[in-house]
């Protein structure tokens, strides 16, 4: 079949329906869980609701030039009309790694962009690749300020697993000693350009406890484990033919496959988890074939749910029985609640008059980072909000896309301006922590269904007063830092489209108390001991760091625990 892959595919008329482990989802955490479980000797079935995407072969746009796209790299009005949500994130080069909004509707109680990629590899193909560790500033936050429930783990619990994950995925970055942004052993950082170095020096001179660093990013500045290096094309989200960045497709699924223990079943929409009241464990899952709409069941000793935050909660809520009338493992009533997503799209830009004789070469698939500097301690306490935000930033010279907007000439002079590097500019945008709040939630619609008969998801999400106060500060602080570094023409910006950070989390949170949380300290369901959830839904707070690295560290740690428990006969 056209989308066959070079791993053991389980397509139809399954002779084999029983495995040691089932992993639901093949994205950044599902892929990692599959690798861990397979490497520990478990026959593992990965269920993926979308099509297969084979590394390199299915990166159909990866080597295309801009002129090989009919509408170049611009989306069309047709995209905006038929895919109003997904088209906020895609372009013609990576559109095929996003779902179609028409096929995958959901209900926005308030505006919320749920951006998805249903295929083998999920959104690990298109992710932003920024990888920052959480610290105890994050793990202790809920306990200290009373929002949400206390994380049942601390940094020391996760530290070895951060190391472990980083050593597999490959991270380039600076190992600056920043107490609340612990680092690992990295590949060489990507260069900063002269305007970024200028801003870094100014920040160092003008502020205490504030840094501007090279981003820490899962792109390989050197060859690593037969992958990469990065070729600095900045076209990552099309899939990388050089394996220059980490994805399930480029790294974890091939590693899982190398064990001989992996089976991937694409086109498998998980309908529900099947509970066995005799053993008080999950017996398996029921799926709907995406193409034939037939249902079938698979069974395993342990189940990892890694469908992504909203989808994982939806599967739990759809798995109702007389034992779990409110959804699978939902005795706490917390499944679907506490949806969090970073707020972004606020900051400032500025122009700098110097360095006219300097430029750069190559296209860096990353920028620079200003880690959180608010509410680190008493000295940095902000009166208007708790927690904080970090800035992703990027310096560059004005090039044609900027010139065509700002210039009002035409003819030879205009052409000259288009083809000449313009002034240096700096862009700084905040990614801010979102407090857990039970009013921000998802639930299944009682009536409306999708074309596979699955209930539509309702999303009710709104950034609260703390998030908004933080945004005001992020806008002002960005301007202030640019002013102190002698930037001109400083312009603040602010636009808020909840969901577009694509960092949704929290809908099956970890916690110490089964009455107020869904998972324990090992991402094991309080209610059903052989089910583990290690995607974003497990998060008890959001931090302000890009979260995928933490999801993967939680995944590796939970896999280790699960297999150990399995061997001891505890589950």
């Amino acid at each position: 079949m056209s989308d066959s892959l070079n791993v053991n595919l389980n397509i139809k008329a399954e002779a084999q329906i029983t495995y040691d482990a089932i992993v639901v989802g093949s994205g950044i955490t599902g892929g990692f869980a599959a690798k861990e479980l397979c490497e520990k000797g478990l026959k593992t079935l990965v269920l993926e609701r979308g099509r297969n995407v084979e590394h390199i072969k299915d990166y159909t746009t990866a080597m295309k030039h801009p002129w090989e796209f009919e509408n170049r790299l611009e989306i069309t009005d047709e995209d905006r009309t038929t895919n109003p949500v997904q088209s906020m994130s895609y372009d013609p080069g990576n559109k095929h790694f996003y779902v179609n909004d028409q096929d995958h509707p959901y209900i926005q109680q308030k505006p919320y962009n749920w951006i998805r990629g249903y295929q083998v590899g999920g959104r690990s193909l298109t992710w932003g690749r920024q990888v920052y560790r959480f610290s105890d500033l994050d793990f202790e936050a809920n306990l200290k300020d009373g929002h949400g429930v206390d994380w049942p783990i601390r940094y020391k619990d996760l530290e070895p697993w951060y190391n472990y994950v980083e050593q597999f995925i490959g991270v380039s970055g600076c190992a600056d000693a920043i107490p609340h942004l612990p680092h690992g052993d990295y590949l060489p950082a990507m260069d900063m350009n002269c305007i970024e170095k200028h801003l870094a020096e100014s920040i160092k001179k003008n502020y205490d406890q504030r840094w501007l660093i090279s981003s820490r990013v899962a792109n390989l500045t050197k060859g690593f484990k037969d992958r990469g290096p990065c070729n600095f094309r900045n076209l990552c989200s099309r899939g990388c033919p050089y394996g220059g960045y980490f994805s399930s497709n480029s790294a974890s699924l091939p590693a899982a496959n190398a064990t001989g223990n992996l089976t991937i079943r694409p086109h498998a929409i998980v309908q529900e988890i099947i509970y066995d009241p005799q053993t008080k464990k999950a017996k398996g899952v029921r799926i709907i074939d995406e193409l034939t709409k037939e249902t079938m069941e698979f069974y395993a000793k342990i189940i990892f749910l890694n469908a992504s935050t909203i989808a994982t909660a939806s599967i739990l809520l759809n798995s109702k029985s007389s034992y779990f009338p409110n959804g699978f493992g939902n005795s706490s009533g917390q499944v679907g609640l506490n949806l969090m997503d970073h707020h972004k799209g606020v900051g400032a830009t500025g122009m700098y008059e110097g360095f006219k004789d300097k430029y750069y070469a190559g296209r860096r698939p990353a920028g620079v980072y200003i880690p959180r500097f608010r509410n680190l301690n008493e000295q940095t306490k902000h009166p208007d909000f708790v927690r904080g935000y970090g800035y992703q930033a990027d310096g560059e010279r004005s090039e044609w896309p900027d010139v065509m907007k700002d210039d009002d000439s035409f003819g030879e002079g205009y052409k000259q301006k288009l083809s000449t590097p313009g002034p240096w500019t700096m862009w700084m945008g905040a990614w801010g922590e979102c407090l857990p709040n039970s009013e921000n939630k998802i639930w299944l619609d009682a009536e409306k269904k999708d074309k596979w008969g699955m209930p539509l998801v309702n999303v009710n999400f709104e950034h609260g007063a703390n998030d908004m106060a933080m945004r005001k500060d992020a806008k002002e602080s960005a301007q202030e830092m640019l002013e102190k570094a002698n930037f001109k023409n400083i312009k603040p910006f602010e636009f808020l489209f909840p969901g577009t950070a694509i960092h949704e989390m929290g809908t099956a949170r970890m916690g110490r108390d089964p009455k107020t949380s869904v998972l324990n300290a090992h991402n094991q369901m309080h209610d059903v001991k052989n089910v583990f959830i290690t995607d974003g839904s497990a998060m008890a707070s959001s931090g302000c760091q890009n979260p995928s690295l933490t999801y993967m560290a939680l995944t590796a740690r939970a896999c280790d625990f699960a297999v150990s428990e399995l061997k001891k006969g505890n589950i």
Binding site: R363, L418, S419, P421
Partner: protein
């Protein structure tokens, strides 16, 4: 157009011939765009694109086929006002050239073509700033802005434009954060 909106439009746009022009233009933004006009007037469009980005020691917009992108882009636009403004603009360019020079645009000298485009640029920017935004909202972007924007995208993302008009590296293989800008060095075609 309803009377109230028409009067509101007039009061925003001012009075006299300019208002008359825009009142007339507003009416023309409505209706199904005559897309065939684009295909039937490729030479005209190509020369207009070339006037925006002319051939120098590197290829111009015409050679880079920027007009083909302009046509593709407009044919796939669902903004009726934008497409109508553009097609009406093309027609206006034709009639203006004929009335002023007694020749179609494509037969004018380079300098005359520049004068014609400058005329339409002036019309397009009569109301800059806040009033310009109001104007854009009511009438859509001006012919000149659309022409310039789409020609620029079409040129800078074309093979000739990217490789010769700008500097294009297909597979850079390295990133150097700080290099010396050499005399005459062109800006990068892609970010």
């Amino acid at each position: 157009m309803n009377r109230k909106k028409f009067i509101a439009t007039l009061s925003i746009l001012g009075i006299g011939s300019v208002a008359g022009y825009y009142g007339f233009q507003f009416a023309k933004t409505k209706g199904t765009p005559d897309l065939n006009f684009l295909d039937n007037n490729k030479d005209l469009l190509a020369d207009l694109c070339e006037t925006i980005i002319p051939k120098t020691n590197t290829p111009g917009a015409k050679e880079a086929m920027a007009h083909e992108f302009v046509i593709y882009s407009l044919k796939h636009s669902k903004e009726e006002a934008l497409v109508n403004n553009f097609i009406n603009g093309l027609k206006d360019v034709q009639s203006y050239s004929l009335s002023k020079y007694d020749k179609p645009f494509t037969q004018l000298t380079k300098n005359e073509q520049i004068q014609v485009v400058a005329h339409f640029q002036e019309i397009g920017k009569n109301f800059s700033g806040g009033l310009g935004k109001v104007r854009n909202k009511i009438l859509g972007k001006s012919f000149f802005s659309i022409l310039k924007e789409k020609t620029s995208v079409g040129y800078c993302t074309s093979m000739l434009g990217a490789k010769q008009g700008l500097a294009y590296e297909y597979v850079p293989t390295r990133f150097i954060g700080c290099t010396d800008l050499l005399p005459g060095q062109k800006s990068w075609a892609t970010k």
